[in-house]
Subunit: 219 residues, 2 copies
């Protein structure tokens, strides 16, 4: 894969950690003012759009035949068939977006994260943890009036997901939402300052400052 | 070296890039309110304190005999004798500060940076660039009414230092000071969220969330 100006951020978390709210808040905050565009990765699906859903925003809506052709072409990082509909994350779409200099956020579980990281090692993995078991239980409970068994099953699933935090580059603890959002912003902003990215972004400046030495590889 | 909660940040730049002002502004901004203490690394010297200089703040003032004993003990990353006085950066002092959970900023040149990075690979290298050759020239000129030759020599030294930007993890461009300060803050804040650090900081939380799995090493 050739060098890409945009950064890919893979975010994973147990449900109840507040991952989706954090991504949403980050993108809203930096909607237009930011010189660095960013977007959430949009999946492909064969299910029909629901009222209000926009093609290319909520999903890339395609036919079964189109989806199967994309599978054949090896376009997807991962895909699955759920209740008779295909869902997939397109590697090609993500790479094109990164090439345009847009940062991409991938909302995914640890298994998907591992797969993406294997194919795009430059991707930045971020795991979000809840501040305590008590708070997690409360958050999972608030989703409805579920039985103890259902809550227990969700907790077990959450623990299973969290047991993989160690495979990620960063761990954010979502205790105070504003603090966690600030932490996430910092990781994103810092990643843009990495030497490999700055080298691409500031070729003219480096040429101005260093002339022919600007592209020398140091040991 | 055992695991350390604090982060070591190595900052290098050509003179005129604004490195010292950035470090000063960062530390002033986060003086007391921050839950993460930080400080600039304090060098050892055998020269006498000047009026207003405080031992342990501006330098660790030691006798020649003490300094030579420290050299023998292998305490220094690097040391030099300049105009009859010793100057050195103590590895032991830095490691102790990091162990206390304090982030340390090391204001150093590329040669020192390379040496420190070799001994402490976990250190985060940050290189600061000026926004253009024209601005750099202006900043180097403003230091006094120097001859063209003196300015030219300074520029050459600056280019020589800048040619090593590629050995650092991050590159910040100090065009707008507030933006560069924000970039530096982001790198510092992001580094605290790295999984290796969070694992040390949040042992209780991980134990609460994961029980025995909290210290498992994932592949």
């Amino acid at each position: 894969m050739s060098a890409q100006l945009g950064n890919l951020f893979i975010l994973a978390a147990p449900s109840g950690a507040g991952k989706s709210s954090l991504i949403k808040a980050l993108l809203e905050k930096h909607d237009t003012a930011d010189a660095y565009p960013m977007q959430v990765s949009v999946s492909h699906t064969t299910r029909l759009p629901r009222p209000g859903e926009v093609d290319g925003v909520h999903y890339h809506f395609v036919s079964r035949q189109q989806f199967e052709e994309l599978i054949e072409l090896g376009v997807f990082f991962e895909w699955a068939e759920v209740f008779g509909n295909y869902y997939g994350t397109s590697r090609v779409t993500i790479e094109q977006t990164l090439h345009q200099g847009t940062d991409v956020f991938l909302d995914i579980d640890w298994q998907g994260a591992r797969q993406v990281k294997k194919l795009l090692p430059d991707a930045c993995g971020i795991f979000i943890l809840p501040p305590s078991t008590a708070v997690l239980k409360e958050r999972l409970n608030k989703r409805g009036q579920d039985s103890d068994e259902v809550i227990a099953a969700r907790m077990q699933e959450a623990v299973s997901e969290m047991s993989h935090y160690n495979e990620f580059d960063y761990v954010l603890v979502n205790d105070d939402f504003a603090t966690a959002l600030g932490d996430l912003e910092s990781v994103v902003r810092a990643h843009r300052q990495r030497t490999s990215k700055q080298k691409m972004r500031h070729t003219d400046l480096l040429q101005d400052l260093l002339g022919d030495q600007s592209t020398d590889e140091c040991e």
